[in-house]
Structures are given as structure tokens and as C-alpha cells.
Amino acid sequence: MTESAIREAIFKGLKKIAPEVNPGDLAPGENLREALDIDSFDFLNLLIGFHDSLGVDIPESDYGKLTTLDAMVSYLSQRVT
Amino acid sequence: MTTQPDVQSVASTSDYHAVKLLRQMLRIRRFEEKCAELYTAMKIRGFLHLYVGEEAVAVGVLEALRPEDAVVATYREHGHALARGVSARSIMAEMYGKLEGCSRGRGGSMHLFDAKTRFYGGNAIVAGGLPIAVGLALADKMRGEHRVTSCFFGDGAVAEGEFHECMNLAALWKLPVLFVCENNLYAMGTRIDLAQSETDLAKKAASYAMQSIAVDGMDVLAIETAAGKAAAAVRAGEGPVFLECRTYRFRAHSMYDPELYRSESEVAEWKKRDPIPALAASLKTANLAAMEQEIASEIQDAIAFAESGSLEPVEDLERFVYSERRKA
């Protein structure tokens, strides 16, 4: 799966929990939870979205590796089959 | 105190003066007849009480008063207003409900008002005007004014409590009121002997320790003389005077009255003593035809004035419920 496809999936997930936000304007290194005002419930839904769309299962211990857009892209691209 | 009419008409009144009285009575008569006609043509509405037959009283009494005096009348008041100097135009316009009426079209036939001539209106409550007259006289007395307040009412008012209260108060405080009772023998449809235990009203009034005179209500000269003497006494501070004018109305009480309570013959009998022809007969020099013409044109002019009058704007409905400037 190409990197842009993964980025697309991430945007789609973010749009679902924060409809009024335009993921495009996110700076790659920005902390997602603060930028998008996402609480743990939103974040869980995001992960459920990735699990359904990308088939990736993210354990709680890895939450720390998903703080920014870039981190998320690289994390998912390593695990997407 | 006397009981029958004892005042003789003064034969030597100059013809000129008599013609003036005649003209005034005729003017009232024709005005009232035209009102009856206009009422049937639905130009005048509401209640209308005509003075035909009693003209001598208003003309005789008002001739004896002065401009500074006051007049308080009843709902049968066209004659008094005309004799007092309220214009035929403003009276007709008032009955047409026009803004140019003497009460802005708000009073109608029963409530004519005119500040210039101190004409304190018709009052539609029987004897309702008596306390007002007493008050006006009280004010004059307290302010040292040598003025007369004339108060007109009918034999019907004599049965009202206010009559007795006012006669007593006026006599008690020696107030300058000329009480003029137009006794036309009927309180609407009730003959006087069915309403009064004592039908000699002058005698009744005398019991209030007040000068009390009766006079032939069909003799304008006699009335003028009697009223003159009475007004002089009142003006001199001798206290109130009661003047009973025994008169008769030739037409119904008002426009709705079928006159079941009196006979044709009685009316016919009284018509023989109609004050207008009686006076005219004694005045060979009077040019009746010219007088009639002048009066007719005055009335026609009054009607035209009324017809062309304007209606008070509805927005003004609540004006004068209270005064428009707060300080009296």
C-alpha cells in the first residue's frame, strides 16, 4: 500500500472524528491530539478505523509512537501488509 | 309667596324689542322643525328632543341674562343654545357629528357645550345639571363675582333627590342661582299629577326658604320681565330664585315617542296659546315674510356648513380624556 494511500486512510479517520478539521493543514510534526482536540475516546475510534480499513492492530503500548502525522504514517506503513 | 301667575306682560315694551324676541322664537321653531326633517332623513341620529312650543321660556329668560352669566341646560337644549348665542352652524354640525360641531361631534343634540358663552352644556341625566349650577354659583360667591348661574330643568327633575339637595344647599348658602323650571306638565310620559304630590311647583320650591315665582310659560314678555326681576335679585346677592314657567311642548318627548299619554285635544288646546303667533299678532309692523326668509337662509347655511364639515380623526378618540397640559 503506497504511503499516500496510508496518508489518505489517516485523513479519512481524522475527518470522521473531527469533521470540521482539514487534515491537510496539519504540520507533519504537530501533536495530533492537541492540534485536533482529540480525547482518548476519539483516539480509540481512530485506531478502530485503522484496524478496519488497514487491518492493523495497535496495542496500547504503542500509543506513544502515534503522536504526530509522520510518526503515524511510518508506523502504519511498516505494519500494513 | 304667591301661587298663580301674577306678572302682567308689560304692554309698553317697544315694538323693536318685541320683534327681536319674536324673531328669536321663530328662529328656534324653524330650526327645530328642520331638525325633525333631518332626523327622518337620517342626517341626525341618536336622541333628539325638540323645543317646539316652549320657545318663550328660553328666549324670555336668556334675554334677561348678561354675557358673563352662566347657563346650565338639559338635553332639550337647542332653543337655549340658540338664544344664548351659540351659532346655528356649530349646533347643526354637532348634530351631524362633525368636528366643527360645538362639542367636536362628541356630544350630539343632548350635549352642546360653548365656553365663549359660558354654556355649560346639556345634561342627559335628569336633574344632573342642578349640582353643577350650584357649584358654579358657589365659585362666583366665593370669588365675589356678581354673576348669575341660570339652571334650566323640567318638571321631571323636581322628583329627583338632587333637586331637593340642591334647592336646600343653594338656599342654605344663599348662592346666586336662577332655577328655571320649564313645567311642561309631562315628565316624558308621566303627567305631573301622577308624579308630584304638590303640583304647584313654585309653592313646593318656596318651602326651601327661597324666592319662588310662577309665570305663564307661553308669554315671552311676561317671562322676560319675571326673569329680569329674578336675575336682579340673584345678582344682588339675595340668594337663589326659583322661576316656574308653565309651558307646553307641542311635539313628542323625543323622536320615538308615540304620545299615548296625552290627548290630541289637549295639544290642540295648548296650541291655541302658541307664543309665536300670539306675539306676532300684537306686532303689526313685523315683516314676518322677510323674517322667515332670513331664518330659512340661516338654517340652510347651517346645514351646508354641517354637510361640508369634517369627521374628527379616529386617532383623536382619546384626546381630552385627560388634559393635554398637566398644570391647570
Binding site: - | 361631534g105 356630544g107 357645550f113 352644556g121 344632573g128 357649584g135 358654579l136 354659583a137 385627560y322 388634559s323
Partner: protein, 327 residues
């Protein structure tokens, strides 16, 4: 400040008016030698003489009508009708002449007359002497109706009323004459157009006049103990009604009780409730309640009379019923 009775305040008002304007005079039954049925005019005969302090025969229609005539004639009469109960004999003069002359004459004749009368019950004088009919008179366009409840108003309303070109009726609740109160020595004329908020409160508005004001203030005192803050309004003028003041108050409190010693049906309180639902409907969080007299002729027996008249306790109950509807 000097402590005087309501009666003294009204007497002072009359004396002051008589001194200010020689057109002013007092007329009524037993106002002179007797000193006034409620002793309001005591001493005035000696000071001003029988011309200006005029005892009248028992002829209410005549002397009230004479008052109207004298006003038309340029005087400034103060007519005292002993109590509102006897004013019924002069109602025709008041309604058909005093209230009507200016309008019916097309603005020609003013009637600058003041009529004072005692009103209200509560002294076991039974049905014919205990009426509270200011609400009736407040129904008549063309006259002003005042209800001085405080000493300041008893002292100050008369002169303003005398200066008014239209007839003014002043209703003095008979239960107030002996009430003591404070009055500054220089107390003088007061406004007669506005109601007055006597006590600020946020929870409910109590609308009262005359003796009802003091009952409302007592009730407010009691209710304050269980943290219900009442805003108490003294109407002062019953016609024209200063409804803006109570609309504004209700816009803050959203609840109201009207206290009126008249009989409930067709009373002044009914008019006030009608205006509130017309103009302040969307401010209401509960129906407006009324505390009025029972609809029966005033009984002689004390316990019956108390049961029939408005009281602070009844006001408290009405307020509780609104604030805690489900008990």
C-alpha cells in the same frame, strides 16, 4: 425626621394647599365644626374660617356636583366624601359629569377637582361601611385614582392632584389613619404618575396598593426567612396604571401575586393580571395569583371579617404555592 400619623400627614397636606392657593377650599360632611369624621380636618375651621372649610348637608350628589361646578367656575375644591360607601350617592355626578365634561365638551371645560374619601374594611363596621371600590372608579376614563399608602404620599399627593387640570380621586384606607411613620420636615409634593418598588427581590413580584402594601411588606419579611426574596411594588396610582414598572419587575422575577382588597371578580387585580398576560406572557414561569377579599358582603363578626380580608399570611401562602407548587 418627625414621627406623625398618616392622618396628620393628610391634614398637613390640606393646610399647606389652603395656604398656597386661595382658590383651594375644603367641602364635605362634618369637615368643619366636627373636625372631620376621621379627624383629618380638625382645627382647620378655626384657622381658615367657614368660607373655606365648608360643612355640607348630607347631600352627596349636590355637594360633589357643586364641587364639580365650582371647579368649572375657577375654584380648586377639595371635596371630602366621608367614605367610599357614601360615594355611591354621588357616583352619577362623578362618572357622568366630572369624568366626562372635558371629553364631551370637545376639550373646552376642565374640571380641576380633588375628591378625597376613606375606603376599605377591617374595623368591624359591617357590609355597608366596609367597601373597597377604588377598583370601580379606576374603571372610569377621565379621572385619576390615587391610593396613598405611605406617609410621604399622604403628605405629598394632594398638592400635585390639586394642580392637575383633571378630576383626581384620592382613596385613603381607613385602617391607615392611626399608622405612625417618619416624615422629613420639608416633605412636600410628590409625583402621582409612577408606581414605586418598595423592596427589591429576585424571586417574585408582589403588586399592592393602600393598606395592601403593608401586608405585602410583612409577607416579604416572613418569606425572606426561608430565602424567598419578594419584590414589593406600591402602585400609588390606580388610574392610569403604571404597568411598565411591574412588567419590568416580572421580567426579572417571572412570578407575581397581586394584592387587592376589592372583590376578586372584575377587580383592579383582574385588570392587572390581564395586562400581565397580554404584555409579559413570555416572562411568566407560573400563573399570576391574586389575594383579594372574599366575594361576600363584609361580615361584622371579627373572625369572619378577618377570614374575608387579604392578609400577610394569605400572601405568604400564595407565594409559597407558586414557588413550591408541588408542596
Amino acid at each position: 425626621m418627625s414621627t406623625i400619623t398618616y392622618r396628620d400627614a393628610m391634614r398637613e397636606a390640606i393646610r399647606d394647599a389652603l395656604h398656597r392657593d386661595e382658590r383651594v377650599f375644603l367641602m364635605g360632611e362634618d369637615v368643619g365644626r366636627y373636625g372631620g369624621c376621621f379627624a383629618v380636618s380638625k382645627g382647620l375651621l378655626d384657622e381658615f374660617g367657614p368660607e373655606r372649610i365648608r360643612d355640607t348637608p348630607m347631600s352627596e350628589s349636590a355637594f360633589v356636583g357643586a364641587g364639580i361646578g365650582a371647579a368649572l367656575g375657577g375654584m380648586r375644591p377639595i371635596v371630602e366624601i366621608m367614605t367610599v360607601n357614601f360615594s355611591l350617592l354621588a357616583l352619577d355626578q362623578i362618572m357622568n359629569n366630572a369624568a366626562t365634561f372635558l371629553h364631551m365638551s370637545g376639550g373646552q371645560f376642565n374640571v380641576p377637582l380633588v375628591i378625597r374619601m376613606a375606603t376599605g374594611g377591617g374595623r368591624q363596621v359591617a357590609a355597608q361601611h366596609s367597601h373597597s371600590l377604588e377598583g370601580w372608579y379606576a374603571h372610569i376614563p377621565g379621572i385619576r385614582i390615587l391610593a396613598p399608602a405611605t406617609h410621604e404620599d399622604a403628605r405629598g399627593m394632594l398638592w400635585t392632584a390639586l394642580e392637575d387640570p383633571d378630576p383626581v380621586l384620592i382613596f385613603e384606607h381607613s385602617g391607615l389613619y392611626n399608622k405612625k411613620g417618619e416624615l422629613p420636615p420639608d416633605a412636600g409634593p410628590v409625583d402621582i404618575d409612577r408606581a414605586r418598588i418598595h423592596r427589591k427581590g429576585r424571586d417574585i413580584t408582589l403588586i399592592a396598593y393602600g393598606a395592601g402594601l403593608w401586608q405585602a411588606l410583612d409577607a416579604a419579611e416572613t418569606l425572606a426567612h426561608n430565602s424567598i426574596e419578594c419584590e414589593v411594588i406600591d402602585l400609588r396610582t390606580l388610574r392610569p396604571l403604571d404597568d411598565a414598572t411591574f412588567f419590568e419587575s416580572i421580567a426579572r422575577t417571572h412570578r407575581a401575586v397581586v394584592i387587592d382588597e376589592g372583590w376578586r371578580s372584575g377587580s383592579l387585580s383582574a385588570e392587572i393580571c390581564a395586562r400581565i398576560q397580554e404584555k409579559a406572557f413570555y416572562e411568566l414561569d407560573a400563573p399570576v395569583q391574586r389575594v383579594c377579599s372574599a366575594e361576600a358582603p363584609a361580615p361584622y363578626a371579627k373572625h369572619l371579617e378577618e377570614a374575608s380580608l387579604p392578609s400577610a399570611q394569605k400572601i405568604v401562602a400564595a407565594v409559597e404555592g407558586i414557588i413550591h407548587p408541588n408542596g
